[in-house]
């Protein structure tokens, strides 16, 4: 027998679906060594497609060594922001219809299909009025064929979920639609937020379930038989079953995962994490190893939810932000994302051949539409666009290869690019756009050499000639602008305040002066400086060049951990498995409501009554601790630790929260 034992490794596969790219890393969990990585374009029309490509493309020698796969996904956040969720009917029990209408609350419900029914409980868990089950069932019968899911939220259901549960029982006997109950998602008392959260959750159920199944199939195809986890909005992990039931919890999971990845790789527990991606730059704070969570609940688009999610600030600035001339004839960067010209040229030689001759032309003869190329990203489904429609014409043109906007306008016999009308084609990712980006400028100064350097040089030269500036001067201005934007956003993130808009005619605002003087001292005698007391951890491929000077401005250290360019995907596996359970302990009043006669304990499974507060609290602590621990073990946590948090909600009401956390069990 040989003496050498095979080295046992514990490999985990982390996947992050960002706005631009889907990244995958194969990581040795214990040494934190990245063994392989893979990048593919994010496919918004079907996220599973890009993930499938990453799972297919990443080098895995022995699939049996992979002990866990975990994904962070922007699926939920984007579906909500773009209003692409499934059709949901929201049933509001015991809500005040007049009040809701007076305050226009319906705009916040997350669905336009909703109805009010009698019922609900009081702050003391007593029935406010009898439940109108008849009305509920008739309503469901009427609408069941025009929706995909139902959400039910009853007034003060966290105190007493009886009406939600009775509605659930009855509805599930008359139809097969999935039903989401408010009290199962949040014990917070904000009735509108709970209704919104339930409605959004219902609208995402089918989507997340299909997504998880698609990832599972991709894993199967590569013979990976391991637990699948999904990252929550606070960076912790949940099992796939849990994710399929509570998709709203994945809100902000991408930025949260990045922050966790930065911490995991740098082994620094308190820092500002800045993730520079292709489309956005996201900022989050980690404190004592945990992502800072916004206590009041995450907001997505115009919807306020009660989801515990990372406190993040995201701006539309990244390596692939479009550098172009705005309406005011000044150059701007973003917010649109385009494919860098250097990349497009490396894929299609015709692009450079079209642009290079322009270098012969003089100032004023260059139309900058010539620097924006459109290209066919995927074929539309047959019949998607009518024959002879503008969309069909554009697609037919682009089958010849990428084409600059000037040529498209000419070929379609139009006058102006605004007439093309191809928004639907972009939205569905049938065509893509390429243009000048910071990534191109990174090719210029040698930070990147990945794609066509010459193309970047030509495009930059043309752009600058049009501005009447030499490339070097513009280059400096560009990075200065980027530094300013990121500095401003970090300040806003940390202070919750915004810089007043600049007033060029009457520039007396001291805030803005402080800001500018702190970036570059202009005053002869007065120096102001910013000093961030925690380091900045940079993540994402462009992080070094985007953040080096920003760290200087803040007089702090920039930490670029090993593999910082894929830390987002590392973050998908870096979190702990977490399950939380809450109990509410609240007073029971005497018949005449004059005195407290005992206490109820409402947990996720039952309501029990105690005569003394001590007993009630004791039972609540014991119960949530056990429930959380059991839940975490079921979800795949290794010897979870349980932490209890208690708070008083006023009116003799106590909230007890148990969080059971453990590293993933990797067997």
């Amino acid at each position: 027998m040989t003496a050498t034992q095979p080295v046992t490794r514990t490999l985990v596969l982390g996947i992050d679906t960002g706005g631009t790219y889907t990244d995958g890393v194969l990581l040795d969990y214990h040494t934190r060594e990245v063994i392989a990585s893979c990048k593919s374009l994010t496919t918004r029309h079907d996220y599973a497609e890009g993930i499938g490509k990453v799972i297919e493309g990443i080098q895995i020698d022995n699939p049996a060594e992979v002990k866990m796969v975990s994904i962070s996904t922007t699926l939920a956040t984007n579906a909500i922001a773009e209003g692409k969720g499934a059709r949901v009917a929201l049933l509001l029990i015991g809500y005040d219809k007049e009040l809701a209408e007076a305050f226009q609350l319906h705009q916040r419900f997350g669905t336009s299909q909703y109805a009010f029914f009698a019922g609900g409980h009081t702050l003391f868990g007593e029935e406010k009025e009898p439940l109108d089950l008849e009305g509920i069932l008739d309503y469901v019968h009427r609408i069941k064929d025009s929706v995909d899911a139902l959400a039910v939220s009853a007034y003060f259901s966290p105190m007493n979920p009886e009406h939600e549960l009775r509605a659930f029982e009855a509805i599930s006997r008359i139809c097969d639609l999935p039903i989401v109950l408010g009290h199962q998602l949040s014990t917070k008392l904000g009735s509108v937020e709970r209704a919104t959260t339930a409605a959004l959750n219902a609208s995402l159920l089918g989507m997340l379930r299909d997504f998880v199944i698609a990832v599972r199939r991709a894993m199967e195809a590569r013979h990976i038989h391991a637990p699948l986890m999904v990252v929550r909005g606070d960076g912790t992990l949940m099992s796939e079953e849990f994710a399929a039931r509570t998709p709203v919890e994945t809100i902000h999971s991408g930025p949260a995962a990045s922050a966790m990845g930065g911490r995991f790789l740098s082994r620094v527990d308190t820092a500002l994490v800045v993730d520079v991606g292709g489309t956005t730059t996201d900022i989050a704070l980690i404190e004592d190893g945990r992502v800072q969570v916004s206590e009041e609940g995450a907001t997505v688009g115009s919807y306020k939810t009660c989801v515990h999610a990372a406190n993040i600030l995201s701006i539309a600035l990244g390596g692939d932000s479009h550098i172009h001339i705005g309406r005011d004839q000044k150059w701007t960067i973003g917010p649109a994302r385009v494919v860098p010209l250097a990349y497009l040229a490396s894929q299609y030689p015709t692009v450079k051949r079209r642009i290079a001759p322009l270098l012969q032309k003089g100032w004023g003869q260059i139309d900058l539409d010539q620097l924006e190329f459109w290209f066919l990203q995927r074929e539309p489904h047959p019949g998607m666009f009518e024959k002879g429609s503008r969309e069909a014409e554009v697609v037919a043109l682009l089958r010849e290869g990428p084409m600059c906007v000037t040529d498209i306008v000419r070929r379609l016999k139009l006058i102006h690019a605004g007439q093309i009308g191809a928004a639907e084609l972009w939205r569905q990712e049938i065509i893509g756009r390429a243009g000048l980006t910071p990534t191109d400028f990174m090719h210029l100064n040698g930070v990147y050499r990945t794609w066509d350097v010459e193309m970047s040089e030509i495009a930059a030269a043309l752009f600058c000639r049009n501005l009447g500036m030499d490339v070097k001067t513009f280059h400096n201005l560009l990075w200065q602008r980027i530094d300013e934007i990121i500095t401003e956003v970090i300040l806003s993130f940390l202070t919750g305040r915004q810089l007043a808009a600049p007033d060029p005619l009457h520039d007396v605002d001291i805030g803005r002066w402080f800001f500018r003087n702190s970036i570059q001292t202009a005053h002869p005698h007065l120096e102001t400086t910013l000093r961030l007391k925690v380091p900045i951890i940079g993540i994402g491929a462009p992080a070094k060049i985007f953040l080096e000077r920003v760290a200087d401005i803040f007089h702090t250290e920039l930490i670029l951990p090993p593999y910082y360019w894929v830390a987002n995907a590392v973050g998908a596996v870096a979190g702990s498995v977490m399950v939380s359970e809450e109990a509410l302990v609240y007073a029971r009043l005497s018949e005449d409501q004059s005195e407290v006669v005992g206490y109820y304990v409402q947990t996720s499974e039952s309501r029990t009554y105690y005569e003394s507060l001590e007993e009630a609290l004791g039972f609540a602590r014991e119960r949530v601790r056990t429930l959380a621990w059991e839940g975490a073990v079921r979800a795949g946590a290794h010897s979870p630790q349980v932490a209890l948090e208690e708070s008083e909600d006023g009116l003799d009401t106590y909230r007890i929260r148990a969080r059971a956390m453990g590293t993933p069990r990797l067997a």
């Binding site: 069932l137 008739d138 029982e169 006997r173 379930r209």
Partner: protein, 216 residues
């Protein structure tokens, strides 16, 4: 999430539908490969689904004859009705004694929905409502063994509906009885509920036997 279970469930639903609606004829041999192609699922999922269906007595798996759709011959019918008649009668009696207010609201809602859609005469919708009503009644009996046992019979009974090539008015006649049943249950009149259900099942049996030419 176990893919196998998801696929099996899907295959089960699709094949069950085919058997109940007689796209797969009683007694016909089951071609597994053809079935895989038809439902677009893996052989493992289809095989597992067929096992589930054999539990429901909708498929027979025997070593000698391989896999066949269960027969629906006179002997089978007799056996089925011999059990359904006393069980459903008992179920109605228990429901009258034990139904909660919410149980009654559900049954009422199903009856109202029936009144609403009966004019359109869509047999599939009507059969679905019939199935849901009988399930709701079984729930109201508050005995899980009763619920489980009857649920298995419902699949078999539904197939009989299709075998008797349902004419809308038969279905309507049968469903008209439901309203009376709910009245009896509301009145807590166990005798009357049991009697109504007894007659309801006998009527159905007679209908099926006549349609299949079994009555003399």
């Amino acid at each position: 999430m176990e893919l196998e279970r998801i696929d099996t469930q899907k295959a089960y639903n699709l094949i069950k539908e085919k058997i109940i609606t007689l796209q797969l004829k009683p007694g016909a041999p089951v071609d597994e490969d053809a079935l895989c192609a038809e439902v677009g699922l893996t052989p493992t999922a289809v095989r597992e689904a067929l096992k589930w269906l054999s539990h429901d007595h909708l498929v027979d798996i025997t070593p000698r004859h391989g896999i066949r759709v269960a027969e629906a011959n006179p002997a089978e019918l007799r056996e089925l009705f011999e059990m359904r008649l006393p069980l459903e009668t008992l179920c109605a009696r228990m429901a009258a004694e034990r139904a909660t207010a919410d149980d009654i609201v559900v049954m009422d809602a199903l009856v109202r929905e029936y009144e609403r859609v009966k004019g359109a005469g869509n047999v599939d919708i009507l059969l679905d409502l019939d199935h849901r009503f009988h399930s709701a009644l079984a729930d109201a009996a508050h005995n899980r063994y009763m619920r489980e046992t009857l649920e298995r019979f419902f699949g078999l009974s539904e197939r009989l509906w299709y075998l008797a090539s349902p004419q809308t008015e038969w279905v309507l006649n049968a469903l008209d009885r439901h309203a009376e049943l709910v009245q009896a249950i509301k009145a807590r009149d166990a005798e009357r509920a049991a009697g109504l259900m007894h007659q309801h099942v006998l009527d159905f049996q007679a209908l099926v036997e006549k349609a299949l030419g079994l009555t003399t």
